[in-house]
């Protein structure tokens, strides 16, 4: 990440300086303000979901959810702490329901639980790949945009989308198994 970010940013800034030197500072400052607004927006989203998660946790709902996914979690992640397993189950359930906003805070909490060293562990890599290959059953944003722009049938992409995400998820999980071996 260090090398990628530095090289790409440096090259882009050099190109921008050659074309339009006066806009370099504006672009950088605008990006930082954009980060502030996004972070505040995320804060609101996290606020709702972390609050609801805490309630669900006190009701022992998370524990039951975690039991439902136990076999799957064992297969994918191996032996992880009970807390991490609960967060991972929450994350998986949110993804399946298409509530992507709720998936992020639970994934972050799980990562904080599993990662203790500088090198990403197998379970951390698995969680990241599962989330980054988009296990999302209903692409609601895309369908909303299609409907808004006057598509005849906004949902006719559902099936190809489902197959495509299934392919990427399966391949992603398989690749993690190839790279890191079976879960211990």
């Amino acid at each position: 990440m260090n090398v990628v970010w530095t090289v790409v940013t440096a090259v882009a800034l050099i190109a921008l300086t050659v074309i339009e030197p006066q806009s370099v500072l504006t672009v950088c400052l605008d990006s930082c303000s954009q980060a502030v607004t996004t972070a505040l927006g995320l804060c609101g989203i996290y606020c709702l979901w972390l609050g609801i998660f805490e309630v669900a946790d006190r009701c022992k709902l998370v524990e039951s959810l975690s039991k439902c996914f136990h076999a799957l979690n064992k297969f994918l992640y191996g032996n992880i702490s009970k807390v991490a397993e609960q967060y991972i189950s929450l994350n998986f359930a949110s993804n399946l329901l298409g509530v992507g906003n709720a998936a992020t805070p639970s994934a972050i909490a799980a990562i904080h639980e599993t990662e203790r060293t500088e090198k990403l562990s197998r379970s951390g890599a698995m969680l990241f790949v599962v989330n980054a290959t988009g296990i999302q059953l209903i692409p609601s944003t895309v369908m909303g945009l299609r409907a808004q722009l006057g598509s005849v049938n906004p949902s006719d992409i559902l099936l190809p989308n489902l197959i495509a995400t299934a392919v990427t998820s399966v391949v992603g999980v398989a690749l993690v198994f190839c790279a890191y071996g079976r879960a211990k």
Binding site: M1, A12, V27, C43, I52, T117, N131, T133, I157
Partner: protein, 167 residues
């Protein structure tokens, strides 16, 4: 689909009532953590946004898109959606803007429009997700995680274009 989130919220609150949990106190306790979490994420977001916006403002993204269009065509990905495939790992709002452009230029229900829809739906903002997830942890070496996710995104795009042709 519109009922999933409302029902979920109501169900959690209802179970809380039945089990006599202090719902109000628990909610406040959980919600308090959100500020720290977004503060941890914030500087990583700034770094990603600077990179993406600098790329876009300098026009380098268009140049790279043109450069990579031929190899993508070999994989069956039409040139019109290459920019979307390339930008998707970096920026959610940026790729949504490009998706809207594609819809407006080529039509929502055209082959290109449908391809772009499935690409958008089946891929993720890999670098953005990585920066958000690993923010605040000690993790510095992510190993195979990001290459695997990027490869899957590419595979998703190829599959999307193929599926839209036959479906």
């Amino acid at each position: 689909m519109n009922y999933v989130v409302p029902l979920l919220l109501i169900a959690v609150l209802a179970v809380g009532l039945i089990k006599r949990v202090n719902v109000y106190d628990s909610f406040v306790l959980g919600a308090r953590k959100s500020f720290d979490l977004s503060l941890t994420v914030f500087p990583y977001l700034a770094a990603i946004f600077i990179m993406v916006n600098a790329l876009h403002a300098s026009g380098l993204d268009v140049y790279v898109t043109k450069l990579l269009a031929p190899p993508f065509r070999l994989l069956g990905v039409p040139a019109e959606v290459v920019q979307l495939v390339l930008l998707r790992p970096f920026s959610g709002s940026g790729s949504l803007a490009i998706l809207t452009d594609v819809y407006n230029n080529y039509g929502v229900d055209s082959y290109i429009g449908r391809c772009a829809s499935v690409i958008m739906g089946s891929s993720e903002t890999v670098f953005y997700v990585a920066s958000v997830y690993f923010a605040g942890t000690k993790v510095r070496h992510t190993g195979w995680a990001i290459p695997i996710a990027l490869l899957c995104n590419l595979l998703g795009a190829v599959t999307a274009c193929l599926l839209c042709k036959i479906m």
